[in-house]
Subunit: 349 residues, 2 copies
């Protein structure tokens, strides 16, 4: 099937190619007579013409493409989107982009190539980056004349648009909720907190809450590792080996929360009767879990939507840097139990 080009349409309609182009792009600046417009439209219809966006991009310097870079959560693991968090986010991004006439160019992190190159290669009109990356790579992006939005990426002095939660506040909310329920020995289970990122912020929030309650930070209750179900299952065992000192745990990601619940369950520990758990993210998982997981909720879809919106704004001539902090809130479900002060005190010695 021979491709039909704008010239074929022009011939069919008895006009020049540029006339067809003007009609199709309905540039108000040009005046095309209604009759011609109709003739062109009929020809388009008849020939079943579809413009070649590739050629259009080349000429107009606009691709209607948004590049999305999503991290590989595990270094050794090939596949990255399996985490439902990314699914929900990507979903929202795709939907919003499509409503605005954009398509998504999806890419995992390139090993050999920088994101800058991907962007320049494909001439995307905007880039959305999700998660943490080597800051060197991010700096490179700055040379680009294309709007960049970072989601959940902590950088010292962001030159790009950013979208995030108040992760620190979230960490505090979660921990405070446990404290309010009588818990004082609270485990903290997380990914890597040594690097700037959401995990570090949530850890700071955990510390904030302890400090406000006058509870000293106990390093024995900290379980930094990696954000994986399996890891949290292991933590359950370690907690038991350590003598089940903690009465509660704040898992800095839902996937860790459910992993912990699962691991504890295997060991015969009851949730929340023996140990209370709070998560973070409010993925679907949190509801699915038995018992359902009390967690810190964030509106993932809103984040995706906002990211696309910022890019649209920038393209539309509003390049002012936006730093968007999305609201978070405590979602109370069934994984936390109030414990008695007395019991707690007696356990505490």
């Amino acid at each position: 099937m021979k491709r039909v080009s704008i010239k074929d349409v022009a011939k069919e309609a008895g006009v020049s190619a540029s006339t067809v182009s003007y009609v199709l792009n309905q540039k108000a600046t040009e005046t095309i007579s209604p009759e011609t417009t109709q003739r062109v439209m009929q020809a388009v219809e008849r020939l079943n013409y579809v413009p070649n966006l590739n050629a259009r991009s080349l000429s107009s310097h606009k691709t209607n493409l948004i590049g999305v870079v999503i991290p590989q959560t595990e270094p050794g693991k090939a596949f990255m989107f399996a985490n439902p968090f990314y699914g929900e986010l990507l979903s929202a991004i795709e939907y919003t982009a499509r409503k605005n006439g954009y398509h998504l160019l999806l890419s995992g992190p390139q090993s050999n190539q920088s994101y800058t190159n991907i962007a320049r290669n494909r001439n995307v009109d905007g880039i959305i980056i999700v998660g943490s990356y080597p800051s060197k790579q991010l700096e490179e992006l700055h040379q680009l004349s294309v709007p960049v939005v970072l989601i959940d990426t902590y950088v010292k002095d962001p030159v790009f648009h950013t979208i995030g939660n108040d992760d620190r506040l979230g960490g505090e909310l979660a921990t405070t909720y446990l404290i309010e329920n009588g818990h004082r020995r609270i485990a903290f289970i997380s990914g890597d907190v040594s690097e700037q990122g959401v995990m570090q912020k949530r850890f700071q929030g955990y510390q904030d809450a302890l400090k406000k309650a006058g509870i000293p930070l106990n390093n024995d209750y900290l379980y930094p590792g990696n954000v994986a179900f399996d890891y949290a299952e292991e933590v359950a065992k370690e907690m038991q080996r350590n003598g089940n000192r903690e009465t509660a745990a704040f898992a800095a990601a839902d996937i860790l929360g459910v992993g912990l619940i699962k691991g504890l369950h295997r060991l015969g520990v009851r949730i929340p009767e023996d140990i209370s758990v709070v998560g973070f993210d409010d993925l679907d998982l949190a509801q699915i879990s038995v018992p359902s997981l009390t967690t810190i909720g964030q509106d993932i879809s809103e984040k995706g939507k906002a990211a696309v919106q910022i890019i649209m704004d920038a393209i539309g001539g509003h390049p002012e840097k936006q730093e968007n902090i999305m609201p978070i809130h405590l979602v109370i479900r069934d994984s936390v139990r109030r414990i008695d002060e007395q019991i707690k005190e007696s356990q505490n010695d």
Copy 2:
């Protein structure tokens, strides 16, 4: 930052643009001296040149882009990838594509435009379609001269490459396993079985197993609805309203299985002591669930990988139609309990 083009490189290296092109594409058919090659490479380096894939595509009729269409699972729901199944699949597709030098053009279903148009618009080199679609839309794709792979799409007479599981066998395996464990009154919970698709096939498998065991099909035990956690939770209530006749349930998707478990749990029904449950898909969910879900496993990543491979083959000159049926297997976990024949018989009357 002015874009640097192939001409700039040519000037810098003191050669013609075509020479640069030949060097960069290392066409063995042409002979470029090692010295010139080196000069060009140095110029590329110096100017930090990145080829414009857009222009390349226009000229070469190759975009190195694979279009991926993923369904909106819920009609009224805007977001579609949240289902981890799609996450895992997309992940594998992206990874494999990238290893082959391809990027992904991601799109949800267009309402106004057909997939054909998307494909023609963007000139993708191949298309991967996931899930079921109106067959009219699929037929349109046939006019395209681009390889198309359908994943989990049942069509009467497939003209395209297809990848699927033996869903019917899977349904039979799941049901037979329950029967072997002494169950005779087995609920079937699923999405829409009236249209050709995986749900219908799994239902057929369910029927096959019953027939082989000499158990008559009982319509009261069938709960067709939609593939959603909430729906399965509702089914739990309905089962109870009906008097908890079933001793087991085959949920034709893991998300339904965990929803059912959750719903039953809420009602105080114990799994697997009171009711046994088998799922289908073996998502991460199945392990996360408490109790973990016995299910029919499929290798989602392999499906994604195979899809890309077929497209690579087709591009590489092997367009022979491939119909790929991926292996499935029973994954035994903790959600099924063996029940006593006697008890079962006494319950049965």
